[in-house]
Point group: C2
Chain length 454, copies 2
């Protein structure tokens, strides 16, 4: 790194700059990507002005800048593959306003979503996107994250009303509108959502909040096969019940959760379906319809959880599945796929996946935001076991190929990062020249998170 | 126009080309913009190949091309201000597939939305965006249209899953995914949605369909003032009732509708609220909550319409308000504003508008997709009455200024076209250089619908 650049940063930022090995190390990795790359320096921004100063130094010394929030992304997004500055935004963690009557909040980018939901609750509101990790709003916008709530409320793309974005040029632009909808010119907001920090640094977001559901119940519905479960999900979605969540876990995932949490869920393919109603009677009627749908779809058991602790426990199990599986496989690396297909294709695509795993003798676990057609397969293997990893990568490739054949995408919610660049070529090869041209518009010297996406 | 270009088009397209004065004239105007501009020629495309051929001729002879579907836009979007080719897409009007289990349809761009809903109905589905005119899916995507259904289902932006787009370069690109969600690289789909035909020609769309609501009722709720009505809308939205529609009409609008349709609605500010439930009991419970909300908000009457003909009539009245008002003002020009603000600001902004109209002695009518914070004021005046039109433009300017001050947008759904270019400068002056740069990427010679947006 340019010594002058480091001096400039230190002179300006004092204790907000670090080159301590442990800090560099914690900014060199994410939660799943196998490689690590050290940044030259980490700067902890505390304001938009700080962000602009970092961008100025980057511009002056032509140094790469990699925005870093929680670092929970899993495709290599935060790795500083060319060194440079890791721009840590976690201290920009204030909820600036909760606008109860407009169902929205204005936040700094480093606010983590559980904190936003906590602060919204006294207003009768909550934030609806809930990835499994305690991710930040800025990071989540940058990967277009979703989670269990997406089936009803949509993804980050659907929640962000407007944003302030600091550009490498030193400008701060304002994209979107605090109004619910707008048709004012080209939509630049959606360019920055999902851009993985390659086009600008988000310094403020206005995001939607939603009324807390009044009456809620969770049904745990078991099936003999993953296919039956998926078919049931299609039926439920068609009944207009508009579930809060509808999640698929396969037998292996339930087993892992049971071992991790000490629970005793039946170890068989299961749908966890959360329904709500604006009143008790309403909820009951919805539940009756749900039960019918499930019974028609060969459910083997239909168990209701009505009380808050029981429901919370259920969802915590789901949220912890990733770590539960890690715990089951100590010392192993994890590899997660993130396909999303039209829901009608899901039974077929899931069968295909299961066959592939069987053929290759892989230990694979299936989890799915199944109402969206989004499912994850988690593979585990000893990092040193080359044969297993070759199989895992082969199977992943074939799974992506199949998903693309049926009109799906190589990533429903995790993004491209480093790992999926080759899949993006397959899915959107025609668009990559245009993506590059747009990158050129906002970041002509390729300093913002270089090497990611394409 | 270049004689060779015309020859090339005639040789290729035969009867699909027209220079008949009546055809040129019908492609020279929209439903509201005061000016007209004749194209040199109209080509009726029947396929994507036809579109590509037109773009090739445009490229070869450097001629402007203006996509034209139904021509129901109202900000001057379809006017060929530099002459050239009006590319009529209305014959590309086939619904290609209805994918019942995926809740989506694949359509050509010239399909009008009532036709798509008609064909979806036997599958228990409908298309949820319903502007007042019988607009096309391609045109609606290009202005990011919405309508009464947006409060529950969102705008065109929320309905389009993927599109095929023909570019001036001769390429056809595929943006978006048939999967419900994707995080695969920069989102180019949202650039083409709302681009008003300036970046490419949409040749195919996959759009979401939604399950037909099972049990439906419409409440007609009257108030003493527009403010009370707006406050009520805020309360209803906060109760989590998730209405299908919630529309505001002021006393003048009701009067116009009564005169046009021979109805006898009380001529006072009114909310029309449609609720649904996945069963009868559910709906009844929802209606009870709704009635409570309305009574708490100073409603003067609460009248229910349960039967289909009565409900249809109500919504037809609303849909026909634009023409009802035209009929009330024969020979007059109409000017429509299209502001959208955070809903909490609506009472204040509406008061401000009413005062302005009073001050300027303007005859103004207020209609609103009030659940979204989107409202229209319709002004009428004799085209020759300069003083009135000066006032109308002054009031429009002040209304936009106020809306922007409170975080709103100059257009909730109609787009920029020619008329709102100056407002776009005010709202997104910081973004216009980037919009121009993106235009440059897709249309370096500025041939696609030149002069629009900026
Ligand atoms: C256990 C586990 C479960 C998960 N479950 C889900 C899930 O259900 N759904 C899901 O979508 N994801 C899931 N993820 C992935 C991850 O949580 C998401 O990708 C999340 O959006 C990352 O947020 P972050 O704050 O950690 O961002 P980071 O990882 O710090 O950064 C992510 C990307 O955003 C960029 N970035 C961060 N902040 C900004 C900013 N302010 N401006 C511009 N760019 C910025 C970074 O440069 C990077 O490219 C899971 C991950 C784990 C480990
Ligand atoms: C009575 C009335 C009521 C209305 N109510 C509403 C309402 O409630 N909500 C609302 O949003 N709007 C409303 N509008 C406006 C209008 O209906 C919308 O703007 C609609 O989206 C226009 O669709 P169209 O098919 O008529 O498109 P056109 O007017 O033909 O074209 C609109 C724009 O899209 C471009 N375009 C058309 N097709 C394509 C294509 N295939 N590819 C690329 N570009 C294309 C054109 O170049 C033009 O810029 C109303 C209009 C009227 C007259």
């Amino acid at each position: 790194m340019h010594a002058e650049a480091l001096d400039a940063l230190k002179a300006h930022f004092l204790a907000q700059v670090s080159v301590a090995p442990s800090i560099l190390e914690s900014h060199s990795r994410d939660e799943s990507y196998p490689e690590t790359h050290l940044p030259d320096v980490v700067v902890f921004a505390e304001s938009e002005a700080d962000v602009l100063k970092v961008l100025e130094v980057a511009r002056t010394f032509q140094m790469p800048v990699v925005p870093f929030a929680v670092g929970s992304s899993i495709e290599g997004q935060v790795l500083p593959v060319q060194g440079g500055i890791s721009l840590d935004l976690s201290r920009m963690n204030r909820v600036l306003q909760i606008q109860q009557h407009d169902f929205c909040a204005v936040v700094q980018p480093g606010v983590i979503y559980p904190e936003l939901s906590r602060q919204s609750r006294p207003h009768g509101l909550f934030f609806a996107v809930d990835p499994g990790a305690d991710a930040s709003l800025g990071g989540m916008a940058s990967t277009n994250a979703s989670g269990t709530g997406a089936v009803k409320y949509g993804t980050m793309r659907d929640q962000v009303l407007d944003m302030r974005v600091a550009l490498l040029s030193g400008e701060v632009i304002h994209v979107g509108s605090k109004a619910r909808k707008t048709s004012a010119g080209y939509d630049l907001k959606h360019l920055f959502i999902g851009a993985e920090g390659t086009l600008g640094v988000i310094t403020e977001l206005t995001v939607k909040l939603h009324p807390l559901p009044v009456a809620v119940a969770v049904a745990k519905v078991t099936f003999d096969s993953v296919q039956d479960a998926v078919n049931c999900a299609v039926t439920v979605m068609g009944a207009g019940l508009n579930p809060e969540r509808i999640e698929l876990v396969d037998a292996r995932a339930v087993q892992a959760v049971n071992q991790y949490k000490g629970t005793t869920h039946p170890e068989t393919p299961t749908l966890w379906i959360e329904l709500s109603g604006s009143g008790e009677a309403l909820l009951r009627e919805n539940l009756d319809i749900l039960r019918e749908c499930c019974m028609e779809s060969c459910a083997t058991r239909f168990i209701l959880a009505r009380e808050e602790p029981e429901r919370r426990e259920l969802w915590e199990s789901r949220h912890h599945a990733f770590y539960a599986l890690k715990r089951l496989n100590p010392g192993h690396e994890t590899h997660t796929t993130d396909l999303c297909v039209p829901i009608s294709q899901l039974p077929d695509v899931v069968s295909h996946t299961q066959e592939l795993c069987l053929q290759h003798g892989l230990d694979a676990v299936l989890l799915g935001h199944v109402g969206d057609g989004n499912y994850h397969v988690l593979f585990h293997g000893d990092a040193a076991d080359e044969a297993t990893w070759t199989s895992i990568h082969q199977v992943s490739d074939l799974m992506v190929q199949k998903a693309l054949e049926v009109g799906g995408t190589c990533t429903g919610e995790h993004g491209i990062g480093l790992r999926k660049r080759k899949y993006l070529e397959q899915e959107h090869g025609d668009l990559i020249p245009y993506m590059r041209a747009i990158k050129q518009v906002f970041d002509p010297h390729n300093l913002l998170n270089p090497g990611k996406i394409f």
